[in-house]
């Protein structure tokens, strides 16, 4: 009779009634303070906070890594797309500029009474000693002959020096051996425009002629090479030269950045009377 001895049974009954009493007290007075619970709660707060902090950080790092990886990939894709768009933009801009230049060339084509052929500049002089020369991609096969004038919409560029079957060499108007018989547009004062390396010089102008800075110079057509009325340049300075006057000219065309030009298919002929 070990389990069921009187002392054991009595103890179990007493404990049962005590616990019932405590429980019923709790239910009746739910605001009753429980100091032991409070202490237990306080004591467990700090380790709980610590664990919560550590797990929160670990989860946060993982989440940030995953997000960064995704962002990095997205970033890379966007970067590639931007580069592609930049390249496209560059091509479109080039096409737009070329379109504008070609439109201007077409305008020149329709304005001149001579047939013309458009050409691209494909090379330059191999020496800095005489670099007033360009190579174009049209030659005899396209009707180009030696001496034919070359221009763009703004004015004269030069003339053909040498014509092969497929390409030609063009001497620019700034070449020292180039010369153009020309007029001052405003007052028809006549002179000869010669190349001077960087620009041109109009010489043999009568001192009485009223040449001013800003005057436009056009070809007279009397030299037999260039057609009449094509712009050569603009006067930038007027210098006295003994009994005559010299005018320094700036070509209206930027000869250092030629890309497309037009060859005017005009055969050489000297015009004596016009």
């Amino acid at each position: 009779m070990g389990l069921l001895n009187k002392r054991t049974i009595l103890l179990a009954v007493v404990l049962f009634f005590v616990s019932i009493q405590l429980f019923s007290n709790k239910l009746e007075r739910n605001k009753m303070r429980d100091p032991l619970s409070e202490v237990v709660l306080t004591i467990t707060y700090y380790p709980q906070m610590f664990v919560n902090y550590v797990t929160g950080e670990a989860v946060g790092v993982w989440n940030r890594y995953a997000a960064l990886y995704k962002v990095n990939n997205e970033n890379e894709m966007l970067r590639m797309e931007i580069n592609k768009l930049k390249e496209e933009k560059h091509y479109l801009l080039e096409a737009k500029l070329q379109n504008s230049r070609l439109k201007q060339l077409l305008e020149l084509k329709s304005n001149t009474s001579y047939p013309v052929v458009a050409a691209n500049v494909i090379g330059g002089s191999p020496s800095s000693m005489r670099n007033e020369v360009v190579i174009i991609d049209k030659g005899k096969n396209e009707g180009v002959e030696v001496g034919m004038p070359v221009a763009i919409n703004n004015g004269i560029v030069g003339r053909v020096l040498l014509a092969g079957d497929k390409s030609s060499e063009v001497m620019l108007i700034t070449d020292p051996i180039s010369s153009i018989d020309a007029y001052v547009l405003r007052n028809r004062a006549r002179g000869i425009v010669k190349g001077g390396g960087e620009g041109c010089v109009m010489e043999y102008i009568e001192s009485l002629s009223d040449v001013e800075v800003g005057d436009q110079i056009i070809s007279s057509g009397k030299d037999g090479f260039y057609p009449k009325g094509v712009t050569v340049g603009k006067v930038t300075e007027v210098i006295s030269d003994g009994g005559l006057v010299k005018a320094l000219l700036e070509p209206l065309v930027n000869l250092n950045s030629l890309e497309e030009v037009v060859v005017i298919l005009k055969s050489n002929s000297i015009v004596l009377n016009e």
Partner: protein, 163 residues
């Protein structure tokens, strides 16, 4: 047969260099920092080939330079010929094997070339040239840098052809 291959090789290089010099390495695009490939080739030929080959290639190169520089024959033809005679004559006294000697040769030929062009242009009417001493010095150093590299390449190809 080896001579045929050598001549073909030199002709190929001549036209390659003149094409490059009128396009990507033209002073139109590079300003005064352009390498004178034509001069480098003539110097190389003067040092490494016999008189016959050297003379022919020099004349051809001089002609091409004049042709593409405004089609006025004379300035480069004469100056390149003088360079050829000077350099090929110097090979009897100097041993152009080290980079130092080759670099010195390139420097000297650049200076001499411009000096000759200046003299010839002063003799020719209506010939105006535009360059400065600084431009010539810049080109000398560019010629040395590019020339030494090209000399190596040409040596390598020449050895292959000679075998």
């Amino acid at each position: 047969m080896s001579n045929f291959y050598k001549l073909t090789f030199l002709l190929f290089v001549t036209f390659l260099f003149i094409t490059l010099q009128t396009t990507v390495t033209s002073p139109k695009y590079l300003g005064s920092y352009y390498p004178d490939l034509n001069l480098i080739l003539i110097t190389y030929v003067s040092i490494n080939f016999n008189f016959g080959f050297g003379l022919f290639i020099t004349l051809l190169n001089g002609y091409l330079m004049d042709l593409f520089s405004g089609y006025l024959l004379g300035s480069f033809l004469v100056s390149r010929l003088v360079i050829f005679f000077v350099v090929s004559g110097s090979t009897r006294k100097f041993y152009f094997k080290s980079n130092y000697s080759k670099g010195s040769a390139l420097f000297c030929v650049t200076i001499i070339s411009w000096l000759l062009i200046w003299i010839i242009s002063n003799l020719k009417p209506n010939e105006i040239i535009y360059f400065s001493v600084l431009d010539i010095l810049k080109q000398s150093f560019v010629n040395i840098a590019v020339g030494l590299f090209l000399f190596r390449m040409l040596d390598y190809i020449n050895e292959r052809i000679s075998q």
